[in-house]
């Protein structure tokens, strides 16, 4: 009985600290002409979607976006960008994406120097149903994927990072779980020694 409880506690500690809670997620977009955009963020992969997004980094054609970076979404109704919490839609499924990562959270893009958006549905340019656009005005790098405009689609990838990094808030729980597990093991050993 006590043995099974210990196993459950250990599993709970691991799950809480790693897969279910915020983790590092990598994403990339390889444009049809070969230009690469890679990045990472901290978030919670919930099914096909990423929640609680923070700590974005973007590297476009070898140059890192200046920051800090904000994540938001394109609002076709207002023809602007919405950077409110939870607005962005990042997904493992490229056809579900609707997000922008930029170094300014101004709805009209004021003050932006580099940005990357991936929009399905009504696109910011008004052309086609999917538009991926990356711009770094610091370097002049720019690329577009919008088949309706003659710019072929590229390849999107969003996956958890290979090595999950526990977030600080989960560490005490992990330590307490492991401590509890250690005490149970020690107690079992003492019981066996005394048996």
């Amino acid at each position: 009985m006590i043995k099974n409880f210990a196993k459950a506690a250990a599993l709970c500690a691991v799950l809480t600290s790693g897969a279910v809670h915020a983790s590092t997620i990598d994403f990339s977009y390889i444009f049809a002409d070969g230009l690469q955009l890679t990045g990472s963020l901290t978030g919670t992969l919930n099914g096909a979607f990423v929640d609680d997004i923070s700590n974005m980094t973007v590297d476009f054609n070898g140059s890192t976006f200046s920051g800090p970076l904000y994540v938001g979404t394109f609002n076709a109704a207002t023809n602007s960008y919405d950077y409110s919490s939870g607005a962005a839609v990042l997904s493992t499924n490229a056809t579900l994406n609707n997000f922008i990562i930029a170094d300014s959270n101004d709805p009209q893009g004021n003050g932006v120097t580099n940005y990357f958006y991936f929009v399905n549905g009504t696109t910011p340019s008004g052309s086609g149903t999917q538009e991926v656009f990356a711009v770094n005005t610091n370097t002049g790098d720019i690329d577009l994927a919008n088949p309706a405009s003659g710019f072929a689609a590229g390849t999107w990838s969003l996956t958890p990072a290979v090595t999950p990094v526990p977030v600080p808030a989960a560490l005490p729980l992990l330590v307490s779980g492991l401590g509890f597990l250690a005490s149970v093991v020690k107690r079992r050993r003492l019981e066996l020694d005394h048996a």
């Binding site: 023809n79 893009g109 004021n110 340019s125 370097t139 790098d141």
Partner: protein, 749 residues
């Protein structure tokens, strides 16, 4: 782990933006644009690919031109931050891809520039001469649908024209876009799109036609910058629209009248309409014919020379050897439209009348994508244009009747309402066709379709009763009227009335329906070229004057004329005046020397000039024939009016002027002006040793060709050199002002 390339390694693949320059640029630009969104463009460099026609003397070798929508690959595209029309170091730039597309971003707004070099290709074809196309920053802004989204922009000749008009004419982007769109008859929403994507064939054709013309103008602008004529592309683009001060017109109608010196027309009671037009519009008061009789003048109007022709003989006369007629099939009576033709083969004569391989306005226009028309009146329906019209007893019209007070102050009725006049021969004459003498014009692919009919004639109502030729189904006896409605007008339009309506005069006889007595038409009897303006025999002047009014009213009522965005002119002129002595000739000939007058020809670069000995009897031609009126009316209400330019000009000057007007020559290379229209004062000075006809000329200015731009300021003590047929007091000193007769208001330049 992928090793990122260094920035300098990355940039060549994406952009030639240098790090150092970029740093410098943005370190300056960033503070002032920190609160603005960056600009991005997904664009295409596009236009037209024009394949010039083959204008051969041999019709079998002549090929029509073609035009297709095109893209420019490997063009350098940039944000022109300093607006000098060039991609300078530090300006964000990229290279257009094989499909003409490009992506470009900038933190600073600016016009777009596409530098089209000889390394650029146009639809995969080499570009022969550098060009620069542009897009207004306002167009980029208007094409930005959402913040941060790439603006969808096509860099085209039309976008360049819109920007040029914004800069030169002070128009807003929207107004300039609307002006160009309405000028060429295209929906404004289509005007600035990639022509490759335009589905409407009519509008696409209009866009491409204008693109070809603009491409030529802007290419020349780049040339002017490259050789240092003009400092910047924006300034050069404007200069290219007014070569030697002659503004670009979209359409010009040249109404050809016959055989009347200025003294016969000016203030004549028989020509109140022409005199009113002279006052309402502008005029050249010292305009000279170049020969006598008609044919050499018309030939000169077609190409700036008469090639020694001194008569009205058939265009095949003397055409032997290298000048042999090459029309296919030969125009004999076995051909349709020639069955009753007076055309004879052969026509033996010493002077060749079939001008072979000579440049002319017709070929020059089609070579750069423009069109020409001749509109001729009172031809036999179904006849070939290469022959004179013939009589037709089945076509009968009543005499013109003039009530008292309607013709030169007549006090009694002129003409008989019961006099029936069968269609006479020779109302249409090939001698009055400015292109007829040129073999390569008759052999041109468009020759048949560009020669059209002109309505308003005395016999029009019954013209289709004609029996001389098989009348084509749907024969249109007034294609000018039709074309004015549809807009299918040429850039250059010679409007040629018949020999009654043009004041030439022929014998027209008929029979009175009641008395059965023979009679003569009331108003087609010929009078002298210098007839007194008040002579009671001047009835044909009144007839011609009425016909001029009919034509002017017809043109002025058309959508073309009433389109304020089009630049349209009507010229009222005569082929010749009257003088055969004294200063009867201007601009290309010193009548004091008639011994040796072979023409000079230049190579394409204008660097080698030699005497052309290939023209037989050349010394006979280009003798001039006095002074005649020349009126210019424009459709621009706010254009200058009442201007008189008294500098001396001739048909050669007019051909020179038309080459400027339509961008057919390079003012810095007189060798590019055709035939004797190149005989400018500088050219004469440079070639005087090879130019015998100018030896001993007392007035090199008078005896040289110049554009009709009113640039020459007559010296204060200069007494006007007049033709012997002028009866006005010679002017002393300069004109009242130097305003260009062709001047257009700024809003449409």
């Amino acid at each position: 782990m992928q090793k990122n390339p260094t920035l300098s390694e990355r940039l060549p693949a994406r952009t030639s933006f240098s790090i150092a320059v970029a740093t410098a640029l943005f370190s300056v630009a960033a503070p002032s644009h920190a609160l603005t969104a960056p600009l991005s463009v997904k664009g295409v460099v596009a236009g037209s690919y024009f394949t010039p026609p083959v204008n051969s003397d041999n019709p079998a070798l002549s090929i029509a031109s073609t035009t297709v929508a095109s893209v420019y690959a490997a063009a350098k595209v940039c944000f022109d931050l300093n607006n000098n029309g060039a991609c300078d170091a530090g300006e964000p730039n990229t290279i257009s891809r094989s499909d003409g597309s490009f992506l470009l971003t900038s933190r600073t707004a600016g016009n777009l520039v596409a530098e089209i070099s000889t390394s650029t290709t146009n639809n995969g074809n080499p570009v022969a001469s550098r060009n620069v196309l542009r897009v207004a920053a306002a167009q980029v802004a208007a094409s930005t649908v959402s913040p941060l989204a790439p603006a969808n922009v096509a860099v085209t000749p039309l976008s360049t024209e819109v920007l040029r008009m914004m800069e030169n004419d002070g128009l807003t982007y929207a107004n300039a876009q609307a002006a160009v769109a309405q000028r060429i008859g295209v929906d404004p929403s289509l005007l600035l799109t990639d022509p490759n994507t335009v589905a409407d064939s009519v509008q696409k054709a209009a866009m491409l036609k204008e693109s070809v013309v603009l491409t030529n103008r802007f290419t020349f602008a780049a040339t002017m910058v490259d050789r240092g004529d003009v400092a910047t592309v924006p300034a050069a683009e404007q200069a290219a629209m007014a070569l030697e001060g002659i503004p670009r017109y979209d359409h010009i109608f040249i109404v050809m009248l016959e055989n009347k010196a200025t003294l016969s027309i000016l203030n004549s009671p028989y020509t109140p309409n022409i005199n009113a037009y002279l006052q309402a519009g502008n005029q050249f008061t010292n305009y000279y014919a170049t020969g006598n009789p008609s044919e050499p003048n018309y030939t000169a109007l077609g190409g700036g020379d008469d090639f020694g022709i001194t008569d009205d003989n058939q265009w095949n006369c003397g055409a032997t050897g290298a000048n042999a007629v090459q029309d296919l099939p030969q125009p004999t009576n076995t051909q349709p439209g020639l069955a009753k033709s007076p055309f004879t083969v052969p026509c033996s004569q010493a002077t060749n009348h079939n001008i072979v391989s000579r440049p002319n306005l017709f070929n020059a226009l089609t070579s750069v994508g423009m069109t020409w028309r001749t509109y001729s009146e009172s031809m036999n329906p179904g006849q070939d244009f290469r022959t004179d019209s013939v009589a037709d007893a089945a076509v009968v019209a009543p005499d013109h009747v003039y009530a008292p007070g309607t013709l030169g102050g007549n006090t009694s009725q002129i003409g008989s309402p019961t006099l029936n006049l069968p269609l006479p021969a020779g109302l249409y004459k090939t001698k009055h066709h400015p292109g007829m003498a040129y073999q390569n014009v008759r052999s041109a692919v468009e020759f048949k379709t560009s020669n059209r009919t002109l309505g308003g004639g005395q016999w029009d109502a019954v013209l289709l009763n004609g029996t001389d030729y098989a009348i084509p189904v749907g024969y249109d006896k007034d294609q000018l009227g039709t074309d004015l409605t549809t807009g299918d007008i040429g850039a250059l339009n010679f409007v040629v009335p018949d020999q009654c309506d043009d004041m030439h005069g022929i014998t027209v006889t008929g029979t009175d329906s009641i008395t059965h007595a023979a009679g003569t038409a009331s108003d087609c009897t010929s009078v002298a070229n210098n007839v007194s303006p008040t002579s009671t025999s001047d009835k044909i002047l009144g007839r011609g004057d009425n016909y001029v009014k009919y034509l002017v009213n017809k043109i002025q009522a058309s959508p073309i004329w009433q389109n304020p965005y089009k630049r349209v002119a009507i010229v009222l002129m005569f082929d010749e005046g009257n003088a055969t002595t004294g200063k009867n000739s201007c601009c290309g000939w010193n009548p004091g020397n008639s011994t040796v007058a072979k023409p000079l020809i230049s190579n394409a670069a204008g660097t080698v000039t030699t005497i052309d000995t290939s023209v037989t009897n050349y010394t006979n031609g280009n003798r001039g024939h006095g002074n005649s009126i020349f009126a210019v009316l424009t459709n621009q209400a706010s254009a200058p009016k009442g201007i008189k330019d008294s500098d001396s000009y001739s048909h050669f000057s007019f051909v020179h002027t038309l080459q400027d007007m339509f961008g057919l020559a390079d003012p810095d290379n007189v060798g590019t002006y055709m035939n004797r229209s190149k005989y400018t004062q500088n050219f004469i000075a440079a070639n005087v040793l090879n130019l015998p006809e100018y030896a001993g000329s007392a007035d090199p200015h008078f005896d040289s060709v110049r554009p009709m731009n009113h640039a020459y300021v007559i010296p204060s003590a200069y007494v006007e050199v007049q033709s012997a047929d002028q009866n006005t007091t010679p002017q002393i000193g300069p004109d009242a002002n130097q305003t260009n007769v062709w001047a257009l208001p700024t809003s449409v330049q």
